[in-house]
């Protein structure tokens, strides 16, 4: 038996076990160490148990930001390093033994893969973490709450986001999914005195746990049919039984799909999105709206491209296209009348899920990079918009309402311009990142033969301008009613300024020179 194992190893799988490849996991490792440091310092820094003492907010955020910057640099380093490796830029890690197609022998397949797709998501997540952390301190100080434990939670969630992107095994995917979600449940209920925080936390948690129940049961059924949860195995299994896939397998795929679609916020699994986005503390919402979306779409795209391509009937695709259309429609319709900016962005996030899902299900070779480009554009716009809301919100309120936006142009012209650009980018206005994101994603969908759906999506994005511009008009043209609760634009702290420059700048740069990113993203195309 052992001899057989060794002969298999010598047959060319040794590379997969090369320890030095662990360097490729640099971003994850660095963040893990940072989490440990934060927790240990917090624990040993306390003189006696209780809320007092422990690590200070400043220190915690400094460690978080420093380590994330380090992780960012590590990711960049790995980006170049991967190309120099002898056996291609896609490195498998953590191999598990899988039944091979012929069933006579056993193969090894990685449970985790480091490739440019994974690294790009790491980059985005690092940027999100840095910008969110920069904005937590002023936010927490304003709320006069002391929550240094927020930072390890943030990092843990970020680690989950990274891991789920590289995962090539449903159980790894599930573990990463939970690692990503659990800290978020807590972060939503950050302020246990705030009714909205608590409500959003509970809703998110119950729904999330419910959805992961579906995911796990689906995974169990897939295991039953395929004998393993590795994507390679599942793909082989589907390919073998292409014409008559077992119904249990189809149910399994459907249930796993439910678990993922829930996290993506696709209609009809979306109902939690507006409530949770609105109820959570705004920086957490910013993190959630961007990081989770990036990671989950990346994971879903990998599943579509590396797990399901052999599925002949492609009915899962029809189902997802239906849900995508519903997402656009429902997201946009609900957004039309929203007065709360956070809720508006939540519904628009649902609509964006619909557009993104089109690119994801198209399954063309370049769809991975198209989805990533869209995600990058969406991330910057959404992050910036949520941060502006954080900054503008009046005292004692963690949200901004439409009638409070009036005359923002006169009060804080820079903020108004920034918000305008970000909203236009979300709508897909030319010369912003959002435009090219929509362009590449719709292009892939069109090439995949979803032309009528693309037209539907275009109509929807036209509708979306209605509610984005509603806010823009309020900022510039509507006079403020005296006596109305209005915003009190504060001095922008340095962290906010940096974040705004980053998000707005990148939104415009990617809109004017999309090739800068599109060129780099050519590396991220997933092979099936």
């Amino acid at each position: 038996m052992i001899l057989a194992l060794q002969s298999t190893l010598e047959a060319g799988h040794l590379q997969a076990l090369d320890r030095s490849l662990m360097i490729a996991l640099a971003p994850v490792v660095i963040l893990t160490i940072a989490v440990l440091v934060l927790l240990l310092v917090d624990y040993f820094g306390r003189k006696h148990p209780g809320p007092q003492g422990g690590i200070s907010l400043q220190n915690a955020s400094t460690i978080t930001i420093a380590s994330t910057v380090l992780a960012l640099l590590g990711t960049l380093g790995t980006w170049g390093w991967l190309n120099t490796l002898p056996n291609g830029p896609s490195q498998g890690l953590f191999p598990s033994m899988i039944p091979s197609a012929s069933a006579a022998r056993w193969d090894f397949a990685p449970a985790f893969v480091v490739d440019h797709f994974f690294l790009f998501v790491c980059l985005l997540v690092c940027v999100v973490v840095i910008i969110t952390s920069l904005n937590f301190i002023p936010f927490l100080q304003r709320k006069e709450r002391y929550h240094a434990e927020l930072f390890p939670l943030l990092l843990l969630s970020a680690i989950g986001m990274m891991l789920i992107t590289g995962s090539r095994d449903l159980i790894t995917t599930f573990m990463s999914l939970e690692l990503l979600s659990l800290p978020l449940y807590v972060m939503c209920g950050l302020n246990d005195k705030n009714r909205l925080n608590k409500e959003s936390s509970l809703k998110y948690f119950l729904m999330g746990a419910f959805a992961s129940g579906f995911f796990v049961f689906g995974a169990a059924l897939i295991y039953g049919m395929a004998g393993h949860l590795n994507y390679t195995v599942i793909q082989n299994m589907i390919a073998e039984t292409a014409q008559s896939v077992d119904p249990v397998m189809l149910i399994g795929i459907g249930l796993v799909g439910v678990g993922i679609a829930f996290k993506l916020g696709m209609v009809p699994f979306h109902a939690w999105v507006p409530d949770v986005y609105q109820g959570a503390p705004t920086p957490v919402t910013a993190f959630m709206a961007t990081g989770v979306k990036v990671a989950m779409f990346a994971a879903a795209t990998r599943i579509v491209l590396e797990c399901l391509p052999g599925l002949q009937a492609e009915l899962w695709r029809d189902a997802l296209v239906l849900f995508a259309c519903l997402s656009m429609l429902v997201g946009n319709l609900f957004a039309l009348h929203q007065m709360s900016a956070k809720r508006l962005l939540a519904f628009s996030a649902i609509a964006h899920t619909g557009y993104l899902a089109l690119g994801m299900v198209s399954g063309t070779p370049a769809s991975g990079s198209a989805v990533l480009f869209y995600l990058a554009g969406y991330t910057f716009a959404s992050l910036g918009a949520f941060l502006l809301i954080t900054w503008m919100a009046p005292d004692g309120q963690d949200d901004v309402f439409l009638d409070q936006m009036h005359e923002l142009w006169q009060k804080a012209p820079k903020a108004a311009i920034c918000l305008t650009i970000l909203l236009l980018s979300m709508g897909g206005f030319p010369l912003t990142a959002g435009f090219f994101g929509k362009f590449v994603v719709f292009k892939e969908a069109w090439l995949a033969g979803l032309s009528s759906i693309v037209i539907f999506a275009l109509l929807n994005s036209a509708v979306s301008f209605y509610y984005y511009l509603r806010f823009v008009i309020a900022m510039y043209m509507t006079p403020a009613v005296p006596g109305e609760a209005s915003l009190n634009p504060r001095q922008m702290p340095g962290g906010y300024v940096f974040s705004m420059v980053m998000t707005v700048g990148l939104t415009i740069i990617l809109g004017v020179l999309p090739q800068l990113l599109l060129g780099a993203l050519d590396l991220t195309n997933l092979g099936s």
Binding site: M1, S96, M97, P99, W106, I171, F174, M175, E178, L182, Y185, V186, G189, D192, R195, L196, K198, E199, S200, S201, L202, K203, F205, L206, A209, F210, S212, G213, F214, V216, F217, A219, A220, L221, Y223, G224, G227, H228, L229, P274, D275, Q278, G279
Partner: protein
């Protein structure tokens, strides 16, 4: 032996259905949460049963069972987080009924 696997999977399916139904009809978050645990355990049962089916005597494959353990770990972590959230909610209310928690809507 195949029959046993099949029966176990049917049982798992039943448990999953019961769990789902329980989530639908109950109003107390802790009970809802228990129902969700039931769903997870249904998956565990299915995994273990399927492992029996896929068991290779030569390689002693235990994938399903290991999956089950991993899911138990995750479930435990979920319990920790979930109970904390529910307790936080309890702090300022005497009664916790999810049908009373709908400040965020429309």
């Amino acid at each position: 032996m195949i029959d046993m696997v099949v029966n176990s999977v049917w049982l798992a399916g039943l448990m999953f259905a019961i769990g789902t139904l329980g989530v639908m009809i109950h109003r107390h978050p802790v009970i809802i949460f228990m129902c969700i645990e039931l769903m997870l355990n249904a998956a565990n049962l299915a995994l273990v049963a399927f492992n029996r089916h896929h068991f290779s005597p030569a390689w002693r494959t235990m994938d399903g069972q290991i999956y089950a353990f991993l899911i138990i770990v995750i479930a435990a972590a979920e319990v920790a987080v979930g109970l904390a959230i529910i307790v936080a909610l309890f702090k300022h209310r005497t009664r916790v009924d999810i049908d009373e928690i709908n400040f965020l809507k429309r």
